[in-house]
Amino acid sequence: MRLSPFNPRTSELCEPYNWSLWQNWLLADMYAPDHIQEYYAIRSACGVFDMSPIPKYHIHGPDAVRYLDRIVTQDVSRCAVGQVLYTAWCDDEGKIMDDGILFRLGEESFRLTTGDPWLFWLEDNTANLNVVIEDVTDLGTLALQGPFSRDLLKTLSKADLDNLRYFHMIEAELAGIPVEISRTGYTGDLGYEIWVQPHQAVPLWDAIFEAGQDYSLVPFGDYALEMARIEAGLLLIDADFYSSKRVVHDFEKSSPLELGIGWAVKMNKDYFIGQKALKAELARGLAWETVGLEIDLNSLEAVYAEFGMPLYLPYEAWMEAVPVYSDGQQIGKATSGTWSPVLKKYIAIARLRPQFTSPGTRVNMEVTIDAQRKQTQATVVKMPFFNPSRKTSLGKV
C-alpha cells in the first residue's frame, strides 16, 4: 500500500477511517461521516480532493509530439504550450484502452495522466522515436473544485487566475511554493488542479486550508467526487467502460465513439493506433451510443409504493451494469447512476442501441427491490446533466 504525499494531513482528517485503494494507493472515500456535505461544498463553496495517486507520465524529447500523435486520439500537434487536452487511446481494433488528460508543458514536454498505469505500453510504442517516458506519479496533485476555488487561490497567488482559460495551465507560486495550476477537474464545476513536488505537499495543503477557512473549504473524498462526475457526464474506467487490454471478452470492450467521446477522436489526423478500425466502425455504424438517462421519479415512486415504501433515492453513486429496456426488449445498460442533489433528479449514464438514443426517448431501467426485478420509466437526455457557466467563464476583471 502506498501513501500520498498529503497523507500526513488526510489521515488526520479522515474521521470515519473510510478508505479505499486506488492503484494500491490509499484514498479517502469521505472525510466526514456523511459525504453529502462534501458534495455540497463542491457545488456551493469549494473542496479539495487528493488526486495524487493518479498515474502520471512525463513524456519529453524532440519527437514527443509525433509520438503522442501516434498513440492518442486527439490532435496533439494542434495543442499549444500551456494547453490541456482530454484524450483517449485505443488498441489496433479501435477499442478504448483508457482515457486521460494531456498537458503540454513545453514545446517538447508533456504530462499524461491515465486511469490505469501504462508505462509498459507507452514504452513499447515509442517506435524508435526520440522520446523519453518517465513515471512521475509521485508528484503531489490536489483538485481544488467549486465556485469559490478561484477566489481562494487568488488570496495565495499573484498569478493571473482570472484569465486562466478552461483546459489551460500556468506555472505559479502558491504561498511561495512553486506549483503548476491547471484549470481542469473531474467535477464539472469551476476548479483547478494543482501540481506540486512531494516534499512541498504538506506546506501547500496547510496554506490552502488556512486560506480556505474564509471560503468554507472542506476536503472531499471519492463518494462526493463520484456524484459530481456523473452530473458532469464524465466517464470512469472500470465503471462506464473497461480497458481493452485488461479484459478477456470482446463484449467487455468498447470504442471511444460508442462512449460518446468521438469529439476527442481526430479521425483525419495522421496515423494513430486504432485509426483504421475506428474509421471502419464509423462507416459501418455504431453498435452502441452513450447517453444520459433521467429516471422518472413518479414512476419510480410507484414501483416503491408496490412494496409499501416511500421513494428511495441513491445518495451514493452506484457503478454497476443495470439493464435498460424498451417494450420488454433489453436495449442496453446503465453503467453509473446517482441522485443529483442540485438538479433534484435521479440520473444515470447508459449505453444503448443507437435507435433509442435520441433525446426524449422513453425507456425503462431495472430497479431491484427485495431481490425482485422491477422497471422504472426513464427519459434519454443529453449529457452533461449539470454544466454551469462558471465551469468555463473567466474571472472578474
Binding site: 461521516p33 456535505q37 457545488r43 463553496a45 477566489d151 474564509d214 471560503y215 468554507s216 421513494l311
Partner: protein, 529 residues
C-alpha cells in the same frame, strides 16, 4: 394594451412563497396571472436582504425543510435557482458545559445519545421508526384538500373512506400513537420514550415553534410531527438552507412563474377586493388603480383576507366570528447578526457542528420558563434560540472570513408593547437574546458588526402578517385540517364567488412549504376558473 386595462384570468394578492406558487401553477395551466406584492421585493416572510454592506440576512425566516418534492419537480425549481444545502444536524449546549448533538449520520447520533443514556440509545431507533411511520401516515393528508367530516360531499366521502382504510392499515399500536401525537404535549409524548432531559428538550422545542404554547402544553406533540414531515431529498426531518438565503426560494418560484408567463408587480399594495353581487371581480390598489380579473386569490393571512380586503356584509356571520377568534398570537422574533468571525461555543467538541443548527434549549424547564415569561405578555428573559450560520456553508452570504448568524427567537409576545414603548422593548428583547447566547458562546458580543432585531409587531408592520405569526395563525389542532382557517371554509374557497385563499392560514399551514398555494391552484382550476 395598457397594462392598467388589461384583463387577467387571475390576480394573486401577495408575492409570498405561497402566492407565487399558486401563480406558477395557474400560469403553467395557461392562465393570465398577475401577482401584486405590497413591498419592493418578493417572498413575504421568505426574503433575503442585504441590510449591512456585504452581509445578507434571511430576515424573517431561517431554514427550509417542508417544501415538498412534487413542487420542486413540477415547477422545475432547481432550474430556477433552488439550491438547498443540508445542515449538519443540531447542537444543544447545556448549562453545565456538556452538550447534545444530532448528526446527519445515524450511528453518530446513537453514540451521542448513548453518552447521555444507554437506555435512550437503545430505544432511539425504535422512536425514530415510529415517528417516521407516523409522518408517512399523516403525509398524504398534507398533500390533499382536507375533507370536512361534517359536510363531506361525495368526493369528501371517498377521501374519508380512503383515510379510514389508510389509518386501519397502520395497525393498532401506531394508530394509538397517532392519537397521542394529535393530543398530547411534546414533553409528555417524549417522556414516554426518553429519560434524558436535554434530548427531550432538543426534540420538544420543535413542537413549540410558531405557537404560543410551552413544551408541556397539550397540542405541541402534533407541531413536532408537522416538522418531522419535512425532508430533504427523502431524508425526513432534515433541515437545509437555501443558497443566498430563503429569498432564493421565493425568487426561484417567481422565476418559474414568470417562465410560464405570470406577471409579477412589486410596490403594488392592494387596498380592497372589488365584490359585485357576491362575486369578486377585481382589486383596488392603494393608489386607486383598479385591476380586473375573473379570479382573485389572497395569499395573505385569514384576517387580512376576510377582514381587510372584503366587507363584513359580504360574509356570513359564522365566518366573521371564526376569523375574529382565529389565534394568531405571534410568539417568535428574529435576531440577525453580521459577525467578524465564526463564534466559539466552548462545549462544541466537534467543530463541524458550526455548520449545524445551534439550539439554545438546554433543558425542558428552561423552555417552560421561557414560556412563563411570555404568558404574561413579556418576552422570555432567556429565550429559545435556534441559530444557523448560513455563511459557514454558503460563502455568498458574507465577505470572506466574515459570517452571518440567523437566530430564531421564541418567545416574543405580540403583546409586549403593553409594557412600554416598542423601541425600548425591542432593544430589551435584542439584549436578552445576546445575553443568553453569550452564556453559551462567550465571544459572540465582540464579533458583532451589525445587529437586526425583529419582534412580532415588526413582522406585522413590514411583512403584513397579523400579529406577526410566522405560520399565518397558530398550528394548533383546532386550527388545522378542515378547521383551517375556519370550519366549513377550509377548501381554499370563500363565501364570495371567485375569491380564493392560498396562504399559510389555509391547510396544511406554515413553513416554507408552498403546498397551500399548490392545492389552491388545483381547486381554482377544478372550478373552471
Amino acid at each position: 394594451m395598457n397594462a392598467k386595462n388589461k384583463k387577467y384570468d387571475a390576480i394573486v394578492i401577495g408575492g409570498g412563497h405561497n402566492g407565487l406558487t399558486a401563480a406558477a401553477y395557474l400560469a403553467k395551466a395557461g392562465k393570465q396571472v398577475l401577482v401584486l406584492e405590497r413591498r419592493h421585493l418578493l417572498g413575504g416572510a421568505a426574503v433575503t436582504e442585504e441590510l449591512y454592506p456585504g452581509f445578507k440576512y434571511t430576515v424573517y425566516s431561517y431554514v427550509v425543510s417542508l417544501l415538498p418534492p412534487q413542487i420542486i419537480r413540477e415547477l422545475e425549481l432547481p432550474k430556477h435557482g433552488l439550491h438547498i444545502m443540508p445542515l449538519e444536524g443540531s447542537f444543544t449546549p447545556m448549562e453545565d458545559g456538556n452538550y447534545f448533538a444530532n448528526y446527519p449520520d445515524e450511528d453518530d447520533t446513537l453514540d451521542e445519545v448513548r453518552r447521555h443514556s444507554r437506555r435512550d440509545a437503545a430505544i432511539y431507533p425504535v422512536f425514530s421508526n415510529m415517528m417516521y411511520d407516523l409522518a408517512q401516515a399523516v403525509k398524504p393528508i398534507l398533500s390533499m384538500v382536507p375533507p370536512d367530516p361534517a359536510n363531506p360531499g361525495l368526493s369528501g366521502l371517498k377521501t374519508l373512506s380512503a383515510f379510514g382504510s389508510h389509518f386501519k392499515s397502520l395497525g393498532k399500536e401506531k394508530f394509538y400513537w397517532l392519537t397521542k401525537v394529535m393530543t398530547m404535549s411534546a414533553y409528555d409524548f417524549l417522556s414516554e420514550w426518553f429519560e434524558t432531559d436535554v434530548l427531550i428538550a432538543t426534540i420538544a422545542q420543535v413542537g413549540i415553534i410558531g405557537t404560543f404554547l410551552g413544551p408541556k402544553s397539550p397540542g405541541t406533540a402534533y407541531v413536532l410531527l408537522h416538522y418531522y414531515l419535512g425532508e430533504l431529498d427523502g431524508a425526513t426531518s432534515s433541515w437545509g438552507i437555501q443558497k443566498g438565503g430563503t429569498g432564493g426560494v421565493s425568487e426561484a418560484i417567481a422565476s418559474a412563474a414568470r417562465s410560464y408567463g405570470a406577471e409579477i408587480r412589486c410596490n403594488a399594495p392592494v387596498e380592497q377586493v372589488i365584490v359585485k353581487n357576491g362575486q369578486a371581480v377585481g382589486v383596488v390598489l392603494e393608489n386607486g388603480d383598479e385591476i380586473y380579473a375573473k379570479t382573485i386569490i389572497s395569499g395573505c393571512d385569514p384576517k387580512v383576507t376576510f377582514r381587510k380586503f372584503v366587507e363584513e356584509k359580504d360574509l356570513p356571520s359564522d365566518l366573521v366570528e371564526a376569523i375574529d377568534n382565529f389565534k394568531f398570537r405571534g410568539s417568535s422574533g428574529k435576531v440577525n447578526l453580521a459577525l467578524d468571525a465564526l463564534p466559539d461555543f466552548p462545549a462544541m467538541q466537534d467543530k463541524a457542528l458550526i455548520r449545524a443548527m445551534q439550539e439554545i434549549c438546554p433543558s425542558v424547564d428552561y423552555l417552560e420558563k421561557a414560556y412563563d415569561d411570555a404568558k404574561y405578555g413579556s418576552f422570555s428573559k432567556r429565550p429559545l434560540l435556534g441559530c444557523v450560520i448560513p455563511s459557514a456553508v454558503d460563502p455568498t452570504m458574507a465577505p470572506p472570513g466574515k459570517h452571518v448568524m440567523s437566530i430564531f427567537v421564541q418567545y416574543a409576545s405580540y403583546d409586549m408593547p403593553a409594557h412600554g414603548n416598542r423601541d425600548q422593548q425591542r432593544d430589551a428583547f435584542g439584549k436578552a437574546v445576546i445575553d443568553t447566547l453569550e452564556e453559551f458562546s462567550p465571544n459572540i458580543r465582540d464579533l458583532i458588526l451589525h445587529k437586526q432585531v425583529i419582534t412580532p409587531w415588526d413582522i406585522e408592520k413590514v411583512v403584513g402578517i397579523t400579529e406577526g405569526n410566522i405560520s399565518h395563525g397558530e398550528l394548533m389542532i383546532d386550527q388545522l385540517f378542515f378547521m383551517r382557517p375556519a370550519p366549513g371554509y377550509s377548501k381554499y374557497r370563500t363565501p364570495i364567488r371567485n375569491y380564493y385563499q392560498c396562504g399559510s392560514g389555509t391547510h396544511p399551514g406554515g413553513g416554507i412549504m408552498g403546498t397551500p398555494g399548490r392545492l389552491a391552484a388545483a381547486e381554482i382550476l377544478k372550478d373552471g376558473n
